[in-house]
């Protein structure tokens, strides 16, 4: 069973054989397709911040 913000739905986990309770997954048409990587999730923001700082050094004319 997968919890979608409080709504529980039955999802097929066959495609993620190593998944464990407590992990977050991406679900599509009733199937869990991928686990969500916490470190990568944070990296989206740190990379945006890096690029922001870099861009400040290259202001558009």
């Amino acid at each position: 069973m997968v919890d979608f913000s409080g709504i529980a739905k039955r999802v097929c986990l066959e495609l993620l054989p190593d998944i464990r309770v407590g992990e977050f997954v991406l679900v599509h048409v009733g199937f869990a397709l991928a686990r969500i990587d916490e470190a990568e999730a944070a990296r989206t923001f740190s990379l945006l911040e890096e690029l922001r700082q870099l861009s400040e050094l290259q202001e558009s004319p």
Partner: protein, 372 residues
């Protein structure tokens, strides 16, 4: 919801927009591939917040939109057969075929049902042993594992009254077809985030290299989309053309190996016709010989039918990013979500539906200035 809300944070989005504005010095046309990405862009008005030189082209990544008219007509023919329970994702029901849509068949008493998952259709087959249950297996690589699983399980369990009508398509050949078209305007792609959770990113590096076009695998929330655009613009400004993964929290280079194995077991690559794009070689999937007994086209012998597109509908040009919905004379007038002329207005992921839902038919002048 965790891993969702953060990517809708307005201040992170603003900062990304500022970064893009600072580094964008030349005009660029960037195509987002997925219908879900188009929808999110239009909903959040991201295209209107970008610097005027950055244009977003809406790609044909809407599986409902690109399902060929022949397949809709075949679905019709199967669904109309007595005793059949025809199951489909909701969107497909309102796509106009040559002779109306599946919903109108339902209204006439045929048993057409909306399902969320192909496994639901399989369960209907188990629960109704004296009826033929057919599932309309459309989609890109994202739905392929689910459809493969349903076919594989049905065969293994000996469920004889279940079959699938297959219209699966693949993204990489579609990108190549767009790039090879004489009227191509794409400078960079925002690659398909969820397709890549299944297939990995390996197929996209050759596209970037061969065609000299950056491909940034991108998610669907505003922060994800802006991060993808920022990384694409950065490459373009620096004269680079490489594959980047901007959706690392769910996309890995290898993808989902269990899903890929299952797809390879059940399906094989074939040529497919795309609505609005024509036939693209090796761009789709069909059932492999051991599973062909579950092919609804064979079981119901519906392979030959006349097709007829409404003349006014310019879905084809919209799907290739050559026109925006509000440049279509029928948009918002004869063509609305209630009275759709073509698939791009019917599907919740279609560009026309997105533009209409978020009121773009009411802002004609503003968009006309920006459109090219």
């Amino acid at each position: 919801m965790k891993y969702l809300e953060e990517y809708r944070d307005p201040s992170a989005a603003e900062k990304a927009l500022e970064s893009i504005a600072r580094i964008a010095k030349s005009p660029w046309a960037i195509m987002e591939v997925c219908g879900g990405q188009t929808h999110s862009i239009v909903r959040h008005g991201l295209d209107r917040r970008l610097p005027s030189g950055i244009e977003l082209l809406h790609g044909p990544g809407c599986p409902v939109c690109v399902t060929p008219l022949e397949m809709i007509d075949r679905a019709h023919a199967v669904a109309a057969q007595p005793g059949v329970i025809f199951c489909s994702f909701g969107d497909m029901l309102r796509v106009p075929g040559s002779h109306g849509d599946l919903l109108s068949l339902k209204a006439r008493g045929c048993d057409v049902r909306i399902v969320y998952s192909p496994l639901d259709a399989m369960r209907l087959a188990v629960g109704n042993p004296h009826r033929e249950v057919v599932f309309f297996a459309i989609g890109f690589e994202t739905t392929a594992p689910a459809n493969a699983m349903a076919v594989w399980q049905a065969k293994r369990a000996g469920i004889r009254n279940f079959s699938v009508l297959v219209s699966q398509v693949l993204v990489p050949p579609m990108l190549a077809a767009i790039l090879e078209s004489p009227d191509n305007r794409v400078d960079a792609f925002l690659g398909p985030g969820h397709v890549c959770t299944v297939m990995g990113t390996g197929e996209y590096a050759p596209i970037a290299e061969t065609y000299g076009v950056p491909v940034v695998i991108t998610g669907f929330e505003p922060v994800d989309l802006l991060a993808g655009i920022l990384r694409a613009v950065r490459q373009l400004e620096e004269g680079r053309a490489a594959l980047e993964n901007a959706y690392g929290r769910v996309v890995t280079a290898a993808g989902n190996s269990a899903a890929k194995s299952l797809i390879a077991e059940v399906f094989e690559v074939t040529d497919r016709k795309w609505r609005g794009l024509g036939s693209i070689p090796k761009s789709g999937l069909r059932l492999r010989p051991p599973y062909r007994e579950l092919d609804a086209e064979r079981r119901f012998d519906v392979r030959h039918l006349e097709t007829d597109e409404p003349a006014e509908c310019i879905s084809g040009m919209i799907l290739r990013g050559l026109r925006k919905p509000n440049q279509c004379p029928a948009f918002g007038k004869t063509c609305t979500p209630d009275t759709p002329l073509g698939a791009t207005m019917v599907s919740s992921e279609g560009a026309c539906a997105a533009y209409y839902t978020y009121g773009r038919h009411l802002a004609g002048a503003e968009d006309a200035c920006k459109a090219r």
